[in-house]
Symmetry: C2
Subunit: 143 residues, 2 copies
Amino acid sequence: MILEKKKIFNDFATSKGLRSTRQRDIILDIFLSTHQHVSVEELYLKIKFSNPGIGYATVYRTLKLFVEAGLAREILLHDGQTRYEHIVAGEHHDHLVCTGCNSIIEFEDETIEKLQNEIAARHGFMIKSHKMEMYGLCAACRQ
Amino acid sequence: MILEKKKIFNDFATSKGLRSTRQRDIILDIFLSTHQHVSVEELYLKIKFSNPGIGYATVYRTLKLFVEAGLAREILLHDGQTRYEHIVAGEHHDHLVCTGCNSIIEFEDETIEKLQNEIAARHGFMIKSHKMEMYGLCAACRQ
DNA sequence: TTGCTTTTGATATTCATTTTCAGTTACTGG
DNA sequence: CCAGTAACTGAAAATGAATATCAAAAGCAA
């Protein structure tokens, strides 16, 4: 699956006439090794650890490329930090965000997806992406 | 309905020991006269027109109070501007955002709401709020 | 390798939002 | 009604995430 994603990125790079660089390889590797919802800061620190010398701006730039390539998606929570999550082809999940401990639970619901498409169609919309977030207290924080 | 909202804010202010000020009254009035999804900038300009002298910071501060009071909700789109929308008790709507012309269509779907509650329950979550946004091209922009 | 173009890293910049702080205003007790 | 005190305001400075700039470095085609 990781190889598959690397291929997606390489194909994207080729089609765009982008060059293949050490930095982009490293950033992709590390991004793919992370869990969902990395903030740029988190990713940058992780990269810096094994590869000092890679600059902040490059991480930003490269993440934007991942979004363009369809590998990642930007998500905005309410802490002022943009996060990036992995896109898995044919799969879409949404988020339960605990406002107590900031943990995030993912879920997927086919029925909701279908309803979303119906609603979009009803309004003449052509949907490219969507997101859904539910805020509340997780089981642990309710106590 | 407007009076009702003013009462909600007054009650909130009283319970929090906040003072009643001319500025807050004006900002609430103008906020209530806006449509959905005002950015701070938009609101500030509108306020400035009839009430020069009211400062940017006060508008920011006051909008946060409206959120606390349950009158407004912050929404984050992808243009770097925080927007505020009205909360109508017992009603919840979601958004279709056109990435072509930035227009926003609102919709409401009871079935989705129900599904969300079921999902939350399944995960032991107590939901406080949620949001759903679908991005794509509206009918006009598809052409 | 040469020459050209993209990419990078450090830094400066931008822009939304928050903080600071001195002056002003609202409320409370007398 | 007045004075004291604490909250509120406005202007300006500060912050912090994200972007732009630019000289140096690196990829790529011939």
